[in-house]
Structure formats: C-alpha cells, structure tokens
Symmetry: C2
Subunit: 622 residues, 2 copies
C-alpha cells in the first residue's frame, strides 16, 4: 500500500465483515485498501469455531450464491458438517460446520492475498477524513492519511472495547488484543448516535483432560454436505463434538460468584445477546431448570483445545474453573483461557440506508458488529453488501438492495435499518416472514443471477444455476409423466404405512404424500432410477421440494408479490412529513428519522400504523 | 492450568526460549505450566522468517542433539535450505533455513500440545511470588497466583516495550501486541539491575508488486540438508529468495528522514544489535559505501508477503516507503506493514549463574532476549538450558552446564554470565575459541550422549550417534588401509592439479590433500565405492573431516584439555575476596560481583588478570 493514489474503497478491519467487503469490492473491480490492526489476525473467529446453524447457515449459502467467499472458505477448512433440522420442512434445514480456527483464518488471508486489487496495511485506524459531508479517507495511529472514494467501517467489538472477568476489567478488542479508540469519538462529533453492547465467550479447556466416556458423542453427518454451490472439496475426515450437562452443583458454585458478576452488579452497561446468554444468566433466568446442555467442540483438526459451547461466562475465573470441574467428564479439566465478557460501542443502524451507507456522511458504510449485530454470518453478509454498494456508488451504478422476500440478507438489513436494535441482533428463521421461499437449497436460484448481473458471481456459478433450473424443470416434468402401477409399488406403500394404490398413478402424486421420499420410489422402481440417472442430486432435491411444497410456495409467492407492490412506491425525498398533520405524532418522528425509501419500508417501521400508511398513500396520489 | 496444585516449573512467555524451556522440563518429567499472553502467538517469529545461519545454525543443531525441538520444527516447516560457507572449512559450515512463519508457529503449538505434562494458561504475568529469597510462583493480571517450585522468565522484547516509528512511539511488545508491565518494577525492588536495549525490523511488502526480473534469484541448495539428526522429512519444494541493492537515491531519501529518526535524535536510549544495524545506521556509519545488499525473502510457502532483509528501519513510514521504491525491482512496491524499532528492558546477565538461575532469587531462571541476547536460536538454546536446569534443581539433580569447548551454547552462556553485555548479544563463530571442535556436523557426537544421560535425548538419538561413531571409526580404518596404485589415480590427480603418485599409497594420504575430496576418489575407484557402500553419508563426511583436519582438531583438543583443568578448580563459596589484598582493586570488585564457580570462569572475567588468577591459585593451595 501507501501509494499517494486514491482508493475506490477503503475497508477498516479484517473480520468477517471486512474480509467479505474487501473481496467483493475488489472482485467487482474496485481498487481496495484493507487496513487492519494486525495482519496475523485476519478473519479470526472471536468466539466459537463454527459457521452456519439455524438461519445463519442460510445466510452463508446466500453469501456464496452472490459470489462471496465465506462458504468456500468454510468448506475448505471445516472439520465437521451437519445439516440441522433435517426432520423438519426444507425451510428449516440449516447447514452448520465446525471449523478449524487456524485454517479458517489462514485460508481467508490466502484468498485475500490472491485477490487482485486488494492492498493491505497493518495499523489501527483512528478516524475518518470528511470533506463536504462526504468521507474521503481514513487516518491511522501513525498519522497516515489514506485517500478513498468510500470507506467501510467494520470494527467489530473493538471500539472502546472493555473486557470483564469478575471484578476486573481492562481495555481490549478481544482477549490479548488492543482496543480501538478515536472513531467513536469522532463520529459522535459528526452527529452520530452511539450505544453500548456486550457479548461473551466461554473458557477454553485442554481436551486431554476431559473424560469423553461420560459424554454423548455427536458426530457429523454420514454424508457431509457443504456450503458452496461451487465445486469445493468434500469433507473426508470429521472430528466429533460431545454433549454433556451442567447440574445443581455446578449452578451452586456459579451462584457463589454472582456477587462478583460484572453483569449482575451493574458494571456492564451494554445489553448482551438474548439468545447466547452466559451460563450465569441461564441459571438466573431459568432458576427452575436443573441442568443446561453443554457442547464440547474441538477448535481444529489436530489441536487439543476445546470450546465449551453453552458455558459463556464473565464470573471470576476461579468460579468458572470450580464450576466447570463439576460437569460430568470435566472432573479433571484444565483451563487454557478463561471466559470473559466484552463491552463495545455500536452505532444504532437506523442511521443507515438500505445500502448500509450512513445517512449523515456520504460514501461511508458500516458493516458487521458495529451495526449492533452478533455472529460471523450476520457480519459477513453485511460486509458483502457494503462492499458491493460502496463499489457501485463510486462507479455510478445502482444501489444493490435485496428484498425481504429474496434473502435473509434482505430481512437482516431491512430489520436493522427500519427497526434498529437495542440488543445484539441475531438472525432467526422466525424473523423471515417469507422463510418458506428463503431456503438453503435455493439460495443459488434466488441470488446467483443477481450476483452474476452485478459482475460478482462467476460465469461458472450462473452456468450451474441454469443447469440446476433446467434439470429441475425436466425432473418435475418427468415425475409428472412417470406412470406407476399398483403392483409395482403397493408393497412399499404398505411398508411405509401409506395408502395403497388401486389404479395406476403418476410419480408426482405419490411424492406429494408426506413421509414418501424420492429414494423410496427409486429403490423400488429401477426404471425410475434409470430415468433420473442423468440428473444431479441437487436438481432432484429441488424438484422434490417444488412438488412437495408447491402450494405453500405458491401462496408465499403471492404474498411476496403483494408486499413487493408496496415496495415499488418509492418515496425517498418526495414527502415532507412535517407538513402532514394527519400523521400520528410518533409516526411523523420515526419517518423523519428513518427517511424510508419506499412505502413498504415505511410500513415496517415500528410506530408507523396502517392508518399512517394510508395517509402517505394519499399524499403520493393513490 | 489453574489447579491448586504446585507445578515443578512455570515458564512465562511462549517465544523461542519459553517453548524450548517448557518442552525440555516436561519431557524430563516435570509438571510444567506455560503462561503466555496469547495462545494464538505461540512461537511467533518476531522478525525474519528464518532459522540458523552462521554460528546460529550450529546452535540449532546443538539444541537438536540435546533433545530440543527447534531443529525438528524448522525441518517440518522450512521452505528453503542452504548450507552457508560450504567453500570454507567445516567449522564454518552453517545451516540456514527460510521458514514458513505461520507453519512454524503452528507446529510449535502442536508439539507443545502433544507434550505430556505441559499445561497452558493464556494471560499476562505481572509479577513473581517470592518467599525466603526463593521464587514460589507467579501472579497474573487477573490476580491469579500459580504456585511453582521454579519459574523461568522468557519475556522477550515485551518488558515495558516501546515501539518507535519516526517521531511517534507507543507501548507494545511487538507490532499490534501489548507490552508487559510489573515484572521489571518488581525485580528492581528485589535488587536486580535492569537496562534498556533496542532492536528493529524492516517493512513487509506485497510480493505481487515487485519486479523480480531486476533482482538476482537465490535458490536453496540443490540437495537440501536439514537441522535435526532424527529422521525428519526432507524438503521437497523450495521457494527462492532474491537479492537487490540500495543505491545513492535510496540513501538520499533515507537521509531526509534523519531529523525525525528516533535513534539519531536520541529518543531511543537502548543500544541496538551492532550486527543487525538499521539501514539508516548503515548509510550513516558507512557513508562511503554506495550500496547495501537487500535480501527479499518470502514469509511462507504460499503467502505473497515478503520480508525485506537488510532494510530494518525506524524512520517515518513515508520515508521508508519512498526510499524502498527507489530500489531496483521495488519501483511499484506496496507496503503491508512499516518497519519499526522497539526498546525493551533486559537484565544484565552477570546476575545469573551458569545454570541461568538468578543469584538473587533461588529457583528463578531467565532465558532469551531478557538476558540481553538477540536471535531466535540464542533464545531457544537458553530456554532449553533453563528448562533442563530448573527441572534438575527441583528434582535434586546436578546442574547441567556445557563447557566452552563442548558447545556454542556453552560459549553463549559463559560469555553472558561472565562478561555480560551492553548491546544485544548475537553468536558468531569468532566468539568460540574452540570452534574447530564445535561444528554443525558433530553436534550429535558432542551432545547427544549428554542429552541422553539427562533423560532428554531419546534412545533413538543415542543409537544413531553410536552408529555414526562406529561407522566413522570403521571408515577411517578402511581409508587408512585402502591401497591405491599410481595407475589408478594419476589421471584424476593431474586433472585436479595435484601432484601425481610414483608409488602406491593409502587413500587416507590422498584425502589429506586440500581440494581432494572423497567423491573424487570414489568416482575413479569402483572398489572404494563398493567398500564404502554400507556406510551412511554422515559417517563418511565425519570420517573425511577427521582425516583432513586431524592435526587442527588434535591441537584444539589439547588446548581445551588445558582450559578444562582450570575449570576443575571449583572455588564457588570457598574464597573471601575481601580478605585478599594481593588482588587488584578491579579484580576484587568483579569477583565479588560475579562470584565465579571455577578458576576457569574467573579467568574469563574482564578485569581479572593472569596475576590475579595466580593469587587465587595460591589461596586455593596450588
Ligand atoms: C468475546 C466475544 C464473544 C462473542 N460471542 C459470540 C457468540 O456467542 N455468538 C455470536 O454469534 N457471536 C459472538 N461474537 C461475535 C462475533 O465474533 C462477531 O459478531 C463477528 O466476529 C463480527 O464480525 P466483524 O467483522 O463485525 O468484527 P470482528 O470479527 O470483531 O473483526 C473486527 C476487525 O477489525 C479490526 N479493527 C477493529 N478496529 C480497528 C481499527 N480502528 N483499525 C484497524 N482495524 C481495526 C480488528 O482487528 C478485527 O480484525 C463474540 C465476539 C467476541 C469478541
Ligand atoms: C521488532 C523486532 C525485531 C527483531 N529483529 C531481530 C533481528 O534483526 N535479528 C535477530 O536475531 N533477532 C531479532 N529480534 C529478536 C528475536 O525476535 C528475539 O531474539 C527472539 O524472538 C527472542 O525470543 P524470546 O523467546 O526471548 O522472546 P520472544 O520471542 O519475544 O517471546 C516472548 C514471549 O513471551 C510472552 N510474554 C512476554 N511477557 C509476558 C508476560 N508478562 N506474561 C505472559 N507472557 C508474556 C510474549 O507474548 C511472547 O510469547 C527482533 C525482535 C523484534 C520484536
């Protein structure tokens, strides 16, 4: 780096958000500078060594479908894969991988190094440079000024980070890493609002000191799948996780530490992630539960270090230690590092537009934990979107915004920008009203054409999608026409407890029955197996989902279309809310603050009622 | 970690010294706790990604021969190997490897994890616990007290580390890492002396931005050798380094920065390593030289990051950058990280005894950069020795001390303890008066029997040494007896420009001729090839060295024996120097301070004259 030239996009921070942002903008053709505190910690997983999970796995698939890197990197470095919720409907299927922490970071770094147009600079950014309400660069601790047409801030948990363990606390962005100062202070002066959040992490222990015979082993899927729609390597050797439980004795010991708890004693001001509570929070809030589940997860393919999922804590380290040792299998456990909590600054995301650009300073983007989210996947997808939009903006292209009916990414950003968040925002399937459409199996169908049109998803990706689409249609057609005689199939149906046939029918009709899968048919009907042989497994799966869930999908599509109509009413800059006495007081305030871009967006602002929406529609001449 | 139990050895810091100390003590059977700030930076190479080199390569071989790990880890992770000084005598041959920085650290961590008896704790140590002039544990930032029968401090460059770049400076133990406070302050209170040193590192650049066609390529050896005497893997794929030069323009630009140089302007108080000067130092001190050599070295097998060996600098980063770009091949260079200097506390090593235990606090050992040395190899060997001696002490065993005639390690520790050092101490062959004995080819013969007797070097190591010894003797015998007729050999001798034979002679006589190698003989004498076929290359090499350098080695051995006699006069605690008026004033002072253990050691103290030694001998009854 360091040339006097001007970059198109400067990305601050190389966490999950920053890495995706840098890769996306560079792959689109922007000249990118990635400034990060420490080049040895690029894409560090701050907490658990895992990617995906419920709703999060869908996000990784979406990032991949658009041409992002997280899926590919996870595939290359995972040590276990499970498709969660297989027994539920396909909208719930969620891929999850256990990652090798070191390899994950290394692979990201290699990927970025091999990305043309990405320059690196190792240093702490202490402020941005603003001219005429537009960001034009960043300043570093050494006083270097880098010029850039746009800037993406992805500072994660580092802004004025404060680490708590029991009664002690000290500055840091993560254990043993420095905090970042200067940026919050400057943004406050520029008129931004800021808040404080907290998160936490469990202790790490020495796997050699655990007795796994007292735990349940949890292996990966027998036939592990993967995240990327590209031809990434299949996982061969998996490492198991283990399940154990806390108990009354554990809880008693933890309670002894409550009087020194930074959370219970009010030293921590920021709100933590409701759905990743610390273990002390769990025993406090659910006092009637006499045990909580603990997942013991390896940190890599060969390390003995284990992550104690479910035991996040900021109690004094000796309390953590003594409590841990009362868990079955942990009698002789040795700790490597204590759990801790960290408080950090975030910026309420209602200050952003849907492109993740700030409303206050032009060409300045925020992505990741800085926006009040939690999780690698949530961070990664924001980084991707900010990187794309920063590139598009400085190249005079259209904003790239995903609808709530198109992607979890759309839901996430829409929620953040319109509803804001007081506590760390994590994705759930329940947040997505169109979740039946937003499946992990069709992220490519939904998004790769968009990613390809952007210039981010490769031709190969589009080719694969078109092939999958074509094959899916053909397979549905084939199953529609494939005739089955009662004699061929009744034995199977009886075995499955499904009504037997009295006359010939088409394969499609049988597939609509619950509990009857394509594998059942192919097992019994060699001709069908033969007919389907030319098709890829993904296409077969897609066809079956289309058949089985046709009516749901249909209904959901209509719903989405109705919502889309509202989205088409662009209002950005066209309405003067001050001059609309018919609006409720609250609605006027919120609309003024959020400045929604469409009626659809306005309708989702909490405090804006359907009556208010009617008022707006009238003003817009409808 | 963290059990209430007492450890045998607590090692503070997991750099090169700390890792060897922990591994050695644990492999000897001690219960070891390794406390380090950040478990993700175990065995980080702070500066150049390389192990070995002149005199340093010999040290790595010695560490390996004793049963240490650095050689094995280097072999497993190197990307280039060269035997330096091949054209000189075998005492000068020095193995040097280019390492993959990430793999090196990862391999060390894996090795330690797989070492029984090593527990880990990630945190900053802020002080030691002393009772009755004996160390009994350490205290951490969180206030945890770990109890241990002995403590090895290996804090490297972290004690009150202060990083300088141009006019800016900030606390840190390495770029982007925290400094360590508390230990120096406490040791001062306990009566220790402390001093300040400095070292520096060059900028790192993006290899993609360099034009290698303007540089000389420097590949590895055609048949790469390795460090360990064990059966470590042979290096297959090597990465080249490149050589280029500074020039007048580069020097002019650098000079512009002198007025902001922390070194020239006196902001840096500590002395730097004389033999690793910064580039500004070089152009300042050698003003008549119009260019300096620059080695461009890859940081790993796949990364694009390059290390600019020879361009260490603490000038302002923009000066570094502009100067760099004037070097041939660097016209478009992009920097990743700037060079910087770091100042840190060390403890003058005259406060130690030859076991590396401090004289002031029992069972407290210092190893590595904290003793005023510089270099990974110097640190590693001290760690090994401190680990061994801490183990021996707490188990009531004899101290383990190497003589100057036995090992570079002996020279290093003896120099430190007896002469002390004002500037970072680096090993050179010239420091070893018996260097003809201390070769890289015979470290196993010299030291493995000692390491095996300790219980550190494995049976396999001893077996290999005994085999090599046996074979060497046999080969020498064989060459003594192998008769060669003039007709068989004169053509070759003529070709080599060596005097032809007039009568039959023995192979050994020909081998004593300079420029005549064993390969010459075997090429011409099929019978000899056949006779030598059963022997390993190492044994052949050893035999040839024994033959060619017989008289030197003989002389050196006698010299060493004479010195050893002096070493046998143990004086520790037996003499009251205050009561010896015949001693010179200076000698009395130095002897009081150093408290030498033997007459040999006393003789090497600067300021103690041969006359003073005679006085001591008289008092000892000789
Ligand atoms: C202790 C802890 C516990 C967590 N627990 C959970 C959990 O239970 N569940 C969950 O889903 N998520 C958890 N997380 C959150 C998860 O780690 C983050 O959501 C995710 O890493 C955010 O990604 P990011 O890219 O926004 O930021 P980060 O991953 O934090 O990366 C920020 C990057 O920016 C760099 N940086 C910061 N400031 C500067 C600056 N001024 N100049 C240059 N570089 C800078 C940093 O060095 C780092 O590389 C936890 C995080 C921490 C620290
Ligand atoms: C900028 C720089 C440039 C250098 N340049 C050269 C050079 O040109 N040539 C050369 O030969 N050598 C050079 N060196 C020196 C070389 O890196 C050291 O000699 C070698 O690393 C020393 O090894 P060590 O084990 O003593 O300490 P280090 O490698 O420094 O390791 C110290 C370890 O201790 C840990 N630690 C420190 N304090 C605490 C604490 N209180 N609690 C817990 N853990 C702690 C640290 O985290 C680290 O893991 C350079 C070093 C630096 C930093």
């Amino acid at each position: 780096m360091f040339q006097q030239e001007e970059y198109d996009v400067i990305v601050v921070g190389a966490g999950h958000a920053g890495c995706e942002a840098a890769a996306a903008a560079a792959n689109l053709g922007s000249k990118v500078l990635l400034v990060t505190m420490n080049m040895n910690t690029i894409a560090q997983m701050s907490c658990n060594p895992a990617m995906g999970g419920v709703a999060k796995g869908q996000i990784v698939r979406e990032v991949d479908a658009l041409g992002g890197q997280s899926g590919i990197i996870t595939d290359k470095t995972m040590i276990q894969f499970r498709m969660l919720n297989r027994s539920k409907g396909p909208a719930m299927w969620s891929p999850r991988a256990q990652s090798d922490r070191m390899r994950f970071a290394e692979e990201w770094r290699t990927t970025l190094e091999q990305t043309l147009n990405v320059d690196f600079w190792q240093e702490s950014v202490t402020g941005i440079v603003v001219e005429n309400d537009t960001v034009v660069g960043v300043k570093t601790q050494l006083g270097i000024e880098f010029r850039g047409k746009s800037v993406v801030l992805t500072n994660g948990t580092f802004l004025n980070g404060l680490i708590h363990i029991g009664e002690k606390n000290f500055g840091g962005g993560r254990a043993a890493e420095k905090k970042s100062t200067g940026i919050t202070e400057q943004l406050l002066e520029l008129g931004f609002e800021t808040g404080r959040m907290k998160t936490g992490t469990p202790p790490r222990v020495d796997g050699r000191s655990l007795d796994y015979s007292k735990m349940e082993e949890q292996g990966g899927d027998e036939v592990p799948s993967k995240f990327s729609y590209l031809d990434t390597p299949r996982l061969v050797k998996q490492r198991p996780c283990y399940i154990t439980y806390t108990n009354a004795e554990v809880h008693e010991i933890l309670k002894e530490g409550f009087e020194k708890s930074p959370m219970f004693q009010g030293r921590i001001k920021g709100l933590g992630p409701r759905y990743c509570p610390s273990v002390e929070d769990k025993i406090n809030r659910f006092a009637d539960k006499d045990r909580h589940q603990i997942f013991v997860e390896p940190e890599g393919s060969s390390t003995v270090e284990m992550y104690i999922n479910g035991f996040s804590s900021s109690l004094p380290e000796d309390v953590q230690y003594r409590a841990l040792r009362k868990i079955a299998g942990f009698e002789n456990a040795k700790m490597f590092r204590p759990g801790y909590a960290i408080e950090y600054d975030f910026f309420p995301p209602t200050q952003l537009s849907l492109t993740l650009e700030t409303k206050r300073v032009k060409n300045l983007y925020f992505a990741g934990q800085i926006n009040g989210t939690t999780g690698y996947e949530e961070a990664a997808c924001q980084g991707l979107m900010a990187g794309i939009n920063a590139h598009n903006k400085v190249h005079g292209r259209e904003p790239f915004i995903l609808k709530r009916s198109e992607a979890y990414i759309g839901v996430l950003i829409d929620d953040l920008v319109n509803k804001g968040t007081d506590e760390p925002y994590r994705m759930f399937t329940s947040r997505a009203e169109h979740r039946i459409l937003l499946r992990q199996d069709n992220a490519d169908l939904r998004l790769t054409p968009l990613g390809h049109a952007l210039g981010l998803a490769s031709d190969e990706r589009l080719f694969r999608v078109e092939q999958k689409q074509r094959e899916t249609t053909e397979v549905v057609e084939l199953l529609k026409n494939f005739a089955i005689e009662p004699s061929e199939i009744n034995a199977l149906l009886e075995e499955l407890g499904s009504a037997t046939l009295h006359e010939r029918t088409r394969a499609i009709n049988l597939l609509r029955r619950p509990n009857l899968e394509l594998e059942h048919l192919t097992r019994t009907l060699p001709n069908l197996t033969l007919a389907l042989a030319p098709y890829q497994p993904d296409s077969l799966e897609q066809a079956v989902i289309a058949i089985k869930y046709e009516s749901y999908i249909e209904k959901e599509n209509q719903q989405a279309a109705r919502v889309a109509e509202l989205e088409n009413f662009v209002i950005q800059g066209r309405l003067d809310y001050q001059q609309m006495p018919a609006l409720s007081h609250e609605a006027r305030e919120k609309l003024l603050k959020v400045q929604p871009e469409t009626i659809g967006q306005a309708a989702r602002i909490s405090g804006v009622s359907p009556a208010d929406i009617s008022v707006l529609m009238v003003y817009l001449g409808r």
